[in-house]
Structures are given as C-alpha cells and as structure tokens.
Symmetry: D2
Subunit: 287 residues, 4 copies
C-alpha cells in the first residue's frame, strides 16, 4: 500500500537479455523511485512479463508525456505490449447481478468501507431483488429483464449504460445470463466472472448438484475473465473448501457461497491493482 | 485410538425409526461398551449408515459367535448390509508401484514407525527401481514387468501372489498400469488408488501438464477406490495445494507429490480403520 | 437441513456402558425418528457427550412434557447435564459492534438472505458508525457510548435492553470493549467473540501488529465464548490465512478481516444449530 | 528450475532510487541473462531487499572474479550487504535427529529421489534409532549421546565433524537437544529447526499436549532459523492442520507429524535455493 501517486507499468515481450536493465534505466534516469517490481519469464515460451510501480513525485516526465516517452525509448525497442495506469485515476466498475446476493453484499460492504480503490457507478440486474440494497448504498440500479426475445436489445442497452458511465471493468456477481460474444468483445479481459466450481471440473449449470452426485470431498470456486468460450476464460483466482459425506446439496451451496465471495473479491482486487497480465489464456498474477 | 480389543460394525440399510436403538440395545444387553458411534442418514435416498465400535472385554458373546448373533437379532430384522471387523486382526495390504517412489517412501516410513495397524506382506512392481528399498525394509519384492502381450498372464501371477499372502487390501502407490475389470472384481472397494488431480478435473494421463496448460491456480490429488470405470471410482479423500503463474510443470509435479502422499496416506488410514462405506459410488467416511 | 419440526438434545455425563441405548430407547419407544446423532467419549476423563436430533411429528410425548419425561426416565438415571431445544423456536441474538464493520456487514447479509435460523432484535454500539446500516436492515440500533466513568451504568442499560428483547445469545462483532465479569455471568457460554489472531498466540490488543513484528507466515482468527478470563474462553472455531514478507500491517488487517468474518459466522452457526457443548474450557462441536 | 549454470545474488541495503537499475545494468553490460528477479522494499524501515539469478553462459566476467567486480562496481556504491552463490556448487547439509523419524524419513526420500540440489555428508544423533536407516541410504551416521555432563564436549565433537565434512547448513529434524549459543554462533542463519506448533503459540516442550489442553481447533508447525533465543528465531515457513474435539493428543501428534515434515521440507528447499534473507529477526522468502 502506498498513498503517494504512482504509475504502474504492465508489459510483456519476447525474452532477451537486458529488458529489466532498459526499463529500470528509463525510470532511474528520470528520477522514478521504484516501489515494486516483479517479473516472470515463461521459459518454455521464452516470453517475458513485468509489472513495475514507481512514484510520480519528482519523476521528471510530465504525466501526459509518460506513455509516449516510454514507447519511444523502451516499448518500441523491445517489441513490447504494455500499458501504464496511474494510481490517481479510479477504475470504474459496473456490477451485474441476478438473484443470488452473497457476492453483491460482500462487494458492497468492501465498497462502503473503502477497501478498494474503485468507483461503482451502477448496478445492472435482470431482477429487482437487490434494488433496495443498491439504493441504500447510493448506487444507481438498472433493471433490465432478459428473455429469449429481447436479449440482443437489452445487451445494447447495457452497453449504452456502461459507455455513459465510463465503465472500464464489469463484474458478474453471480449474474446468471450468458453474455454474447459481441458484448464480450467490448471488454476484453475486463469482465470478471465467479463460477461456483473448481474449473475445469463442473462447468455449466448446477455445479454443486454435480459435485454432490460425484461424491467429491472438496468444492471450489473460480474467478476468471469472461471469453466467448463459456467457463473457459483465463483463471485469476481459485480456492476450495472441504466437505463431508453428510453435506447435502444445500450445505454445499451455503459453504460454497462463502468461498465464492472471497475468491471473487480477491480476483477483483488483483484486477483493480493492475496485477494481472493475460497470455495464452493464462493469467500472470503479480500479487 | 484405543489399545483394548474392539469390534467394529459398518452397516447400511433403508432408513426407519429405531435402528440405532436396536443396534445399541443389542450391544448394551451383552455388556458391549461403545467406544465410538457415528451414523448418517441420506435424507434424499432415505438410507441409513452406521459405524459403531465397542470393547470386547466383558462382551458376553464369544468372538466367533458375534456375527451370527448380530445377523439373527439385528441384521436380518432391519434388512441390513453389514460387516464386523476385529481390531485384533491386522489387515494385510499389498503395495503396487511403478517408477515414482514418493508415495512408496512415505508409506514405508509409516509402516516402519508403526503408525498403521497393518501388515504389508509384499510389494509388486513392473520395474526394479524400488527393489533395494523394499528389501531394506524387509518386505518381499516381486518384479512383474508388463507389456501389451503378457498383461493377462501377469495379472494372473499377481492374483496368485495376493491370494498366497492372504492380502485383503491393495494400494496403487502411483502404479502406472490400468488394472483389468477382471482383476478389480477380485477386490471390490479394496483397491485404493492415488490420482494426481482433483477429480473429476484432469482424469487420465499427465494431469499436471493439463493443469499447467489450463492455467489453474490450484492442483489437487484424489484417492479413490478403483472401479472398472477409470478414475471414476468412489472418492475417499481429496486435497489441493495452491500454485502460482511462475510454477512450471516440474514445480507442479514436485508440489503435487507432497500432496499426493498425504492424501493417499489419509485414505489408507480411513480404510484400515474401517471408517469407509461405499454407497452409489460415493464414500461415507466416518472420520 | 431438515424443514420438519425437530427437538435437539445436548447432553453430557460420566461415561458408562449403555448410555446411547438408554437415550435411543427413550426416543424409539415414543416414536421419535432420529435425524442425526453424534457422540463423543473423552477417554482420558471418562466423560460422555451427545447430540441427538429427532422429528417431533408422531412423537408421542407432548412438547411441554418432553423435558420432564426425559429427566425422569433418562437424565436422572444417568446423572446427566442436558438441555433440549426445539427447532420451532428461533434463537434471539443481539449484536454488539464498535467501529470495524466487516463482521457486521457479513452477518447482516446472512440475516437478510435467511441463511440463519435466528431473530436479531437489536444492535448495540458504543459508536454511531453503523446506525444507518442497521436502520436500513430494519433492526433497532442503540447507541450506548462508553467511557471510564459510565461503564457500569451502560452495562446495566445493555442488560436491560437484552432482557427486554428476550435475547439469549450475544455476538461481539469486533466490539472493542471488555465486558465485566458481572455482565458475562448473565450469559454463560452465550456470548460469542471474534479475536483477530490464532489464540493462544497474540492475545490482547493489536494482534496484527504483533504478528507483523514477529514475522509469522500465517495469521489467524479465533471465535470463542467469552469468559471473565480475557481471550481465554473455550474456542468454537479457528482458521488462518497465509501471508508473505511483503504484506504490511495494513495488508494483514485486510486479509485477516476476510478470515475473521468467515470464522465468526461458522461459530455463530454452530451455536444456533445447538452443536456446541462446553466442558473444561473446551468446545465439543458436533458439526 | 533451470538446468544451466547460474549465479544467485542475495542483497539488502538502505532504500534509494536506482538500485535495481544499477544491479541490472551491471549484469546487462556483462551479458548476464536474468532468469529470475525479485525485490522487496520494507517501506516502514526504508530498506531494500533483492534476489536475482542470472545465467553464467556468456557472462563476460570469470567465475572467480565476479564477487570482486560486483563489490567494486555495485556493492560498495550502494552500501550493500550481499552474497553470491553458484548453482554449480552443491550445498552440504548435516542432519541432526533424535528419536522421532518422520522428518528424517521424508528428508531422505527427497534426497534419494534427487529432489534437492544438496549433498548430505553425515547424520548425527544422540540415539542409535536411525543408524540402520542412515546406513541403508549410504550416509555416514555418528552416534553422539548427550547428557548433562558431556554436552559441551559432544558439541565440540559435532563441530569438528561438521568442519571436517565442509558442512554449511544444519537441519534439526526433530533433534530434541537445545544447542548452546556458542554452537549456534558457528552457523548464523544456517541451522534450520522444525517446531511442532504455530509459533509464537506453544513454544517449548510438549506443544501438542498444550494444544489439546487449550482446546484449539488448529495445530501448526513452524520452521525457523535457530538463534540463542529458544523457539524465537526468524520464521521461514509455517502451516497448520485442522483438528476436531475427538482428536486425542496421540491424534494431534500423528496429524501434526505430516504437517511438520512438509513445513520443514519447504523451509529447507527455500534455504537451498538461496531464497531467504534475514532482517530484524524476520525472513524475506523470495519464493
């Protein structure tokens, strides 16, 4: 945790000697004091990944000139994919929910306590179950019911709302609708879902029923970025809880929901802290 | 743990009022002091399960008459499937191994320290890798190499050895051969396997490679009874370890092996303590 | 989970042969169908513990006569300490909170979703921080500020409120005041606290600071019944999270709070389900 | 994991801008390809820590000149405490054991399977319990019984043996003797102990008895460097297992021993991989 203004670079490029030296020399010669640096080399793929955070105080490049300078002096030289975020700018996150409220409650309690560096400008639901909860929290709530006929049109309304509220991240807090490939394309690696199983086991509907039927001794939850391939997007976070033979499907749901909300909240935090890089459907999480 | 001689009843029957009263009345009127009693009702299936252990000291029925008396006075009345084991009789367990030794080492160290109430009369392998280890431990080692041609014949030899050594339990300590349905039929719910994934995810060969490829954040191990349906038998025990993006397939193997040996050893212990009942491909584990 | 009306017996007595037989015979002859039965024998202390739950439908003893009948036919015979609860009667639980809201938020979200079989008639706080939250949930909120001078008087007011609202359980959801021995005596084994360390390590104030200072690799949370011996009451539930060298005290607090709320909620559930027996400052939890 | 020859730098110094740039520039200009780099800033203490591993192939400085060059060009400039290790040189580790063998067995199975990059030239014990085991593994075994009178003399013999065998790391695999401050001074942060509790809870003798007495719901194990302050040295690794009310002290020992051996082995691995830096009695573990 650092209360001073910082910039965060997330970058990846083919591996070669001298990458860290080049990046840190760029920061050093411009008086950028590094707060945190992590790197990873995928030795099978010979690919390099990096996250570096530095203090903006005393940094000799103006805020609006940093990206150009970096691209010219480092990015273009190393054939790098990169992005830079500034701690002063709060991410704007929309929450989609249906009728299971445990993740939404948890998320809103974190929002209200100021645990996350985020703005939540709206909540969207296909039901009205959590309208009052949203309003008590002071967040605008939009009810967009979905059926077989109106799905395309409702997604268009959702996209419009997200655009209007300058949303950059979408959280599906147990939103039981499947998003279209077209919708997903608007938010690549920016839609975070929570699935209530340890994927790749038990994808699809009713994983707790399947887990009970199979007689497993652990149940899990998986938070991942949404891709057009259902329940197969890059995994950000997973965890499990142990169960016993005397746990009914109802018990699995109850125990699982505690796990779901913790796993989702960890994934959201990683995302909001700019700690996640996606490469070949896998997440590098610099935690 | 109880050092006195005890008997253990494992029983299951359709649920109805009064089952526990009948079983405990039988024990009570014959001066059987209950050391441990656990029961479970599958309320969906309306089926009853029970494990009860009682002291044989002062028990008024002779050892060799207990089973008949129980069947006559309780079992037949309740349409019960049951078995009774005596703590004085050590289970006899064979170990099958191929070329991964971590589970075998762990198992033998428990055997040598006397942690388990078991006799291991032989180790069977399709390789000679652990011949010396077995011999140092004083356990006869049989080398039965297997190829596409001789499999049926070698299984016959294995069965003969198991019969000759009065084996009642077989542990596959990372034995990389698939047993035939015929072999398995000789040991129903008596062959314990360790699979190196959190089943049902990643069945079959090379689960650590698949886990790495999929980018999961946890890896698991599953110990289950072997059935003719590969990697689909009833699960006795499962656990997981967390991994990070910087763990290579080799790292997964290393971290996973620690997990495998612990999970397998817990499953073996449950089995040896007569704590496991199998019903509809699920394990009730009275732990 | 059972939606039908049940009775739950929690009992303990010196161990002797035939206890379960006597209890289950009492239920059986009165047509009480057992839903769940667990027992435990402390073999060192030769003491017996039991929890049994049975359906009241068809039970031949009237509700208001059960306790007398049990005492006469079983309890007095076995020198038993026991209590019987009825699933039809909702426990009434007060929540005390100061300025940390994570446990309160979590608890209220469970309350609103109907996860627990409980009535929360009031929230008491020495601050006004969560007044609006309580009111939004529809629960009366009482602000009773405490200082060195008025403590005794405020505790009297609290006791009066608890009595008026027929409260039988008190949850300290990070209530930062120490209750007097006199207050505690009114609710023996009925006040549930959450302490933010794995007791007995780091009792007292600021355990996360102490954990950071000591350089531990795990932090914990402990939910226990409150006794006059601070942080030394019988432990109902504990769990931990792993931390790394780069976690600051602030990070420990954040990660720890997720753990605290889960541990507290599990302890509350055990208590509300009548699963806990206290003996010699230890909890037997029949889960 | 990297099979090519590498060098590993572990360094710490007061924090200032440009440290990483200086270190990586030194490596880059000498053609050292970085395989792994991790850093940590203790922001409270304004202190910097770093581990960097680079390939020696193509590195333009000769092996025996690297340390001088680094000190001259980097270390002295930054007022750095540092050490450099070479992957080509195997650490030499002695194992001390008494009468509990679970950690020794586990450790030797890893040694035999080649899991660790280490040489174990000798085992020292105050008992003969594991003489045969050591000899079967081909490791010299020294029996040095200890009593109140001969302790000083036996420690002298131990030190002589360690010197003779060029030992740089000592593992106390449940060695039940307290080492003298004088002995410890010979191996600062090089003696690794396993204590069978989650320190700082239950230091000293018989922690499982204390845990049972207190009624905790988790038991732990702690691996730490030995200092003259008993059970208070810097913690390398900790983990726990959950227990229930029906676990006797014997059960705690059994479950705990599985935990001990895993925790000790992880700590040893961190040490052997040069991943641990000690600062103010805390371990920075770059894992």
């Amino acid at each position: 945790m650092n209360n001073q203004a910082t910039a965060i670079l997330l970058a990846e490029c083919p591996d070669q000697p001298g990458i860290i030296a080049k990046v840190t020399a760029f920061l050093s010669k411009n008086n950028g004091n590094i707060v945190d640096l992590e790197q990873h080399v995928d030795s099978a793929d010979k690919h390099f990944f990096m996250r570096v955070e530095w203090q903006l105080e005393n940094f000799s490049i103006q805020l609006d000139a940093i990206k150009d300078a970096f691209q010219e002096q480092v990015g273009s030289v190393l054939d790098m994919n990169w992005r830079i975020a500034f701690s002063g700018i709060k991410p704007r996150m929309a929450v989609f929910v249906s009728q299971h409220g445990h993740c939404l409650f948890d998320l809103l309690s974190r929002y209200q306590s100021g645990e996350w560096h985020v703005e939540i400008p709206l909540i969207i639901s296909n039901h009205t179950t959590y309208k009052t909860l949203a309003e008590n929290t002071g967040i605008p709530f939009y009810h967009l019911p979905i059926n077989a006929e109106n799905k395309q049109q409702q997604e268009a309304s959702q996209l419009e709302l997200l655009k209007k509220h300058h949303v950059d991240t979408v959280v599906l807090a147990r939103y039981m609708q499947i998003l279209s490939a077209d919708f997903i394309e608007h938010f690549p690696n920016k839609i975070i879902n929570i699935h209530h199983s340890f994927l790749p086991a038990f994808p699809g509907a009713k994983p707790y029923h399947s887990a009970h039927e199979r007689g497993v001794k652990i149940i899990g939850a998986t938070s991942h970025y949404v891709t057009s391939d259902l329940d197969a997007g890059p995994i950000i976070e997973q965890d499990i809880v142990h169960i016993r033979h005397n746990d009914s499907v109802e018990d699995l749901k109850r125990k699982g929901q505690d796990n779901e909300k913790i796993v989702l909240s960890r994934a959201i935090r990683h995302h909001l802290q700019y700690e996640v890089l996606v490469y070949k459907n896998r997440c590098i999480v610099f935690d």
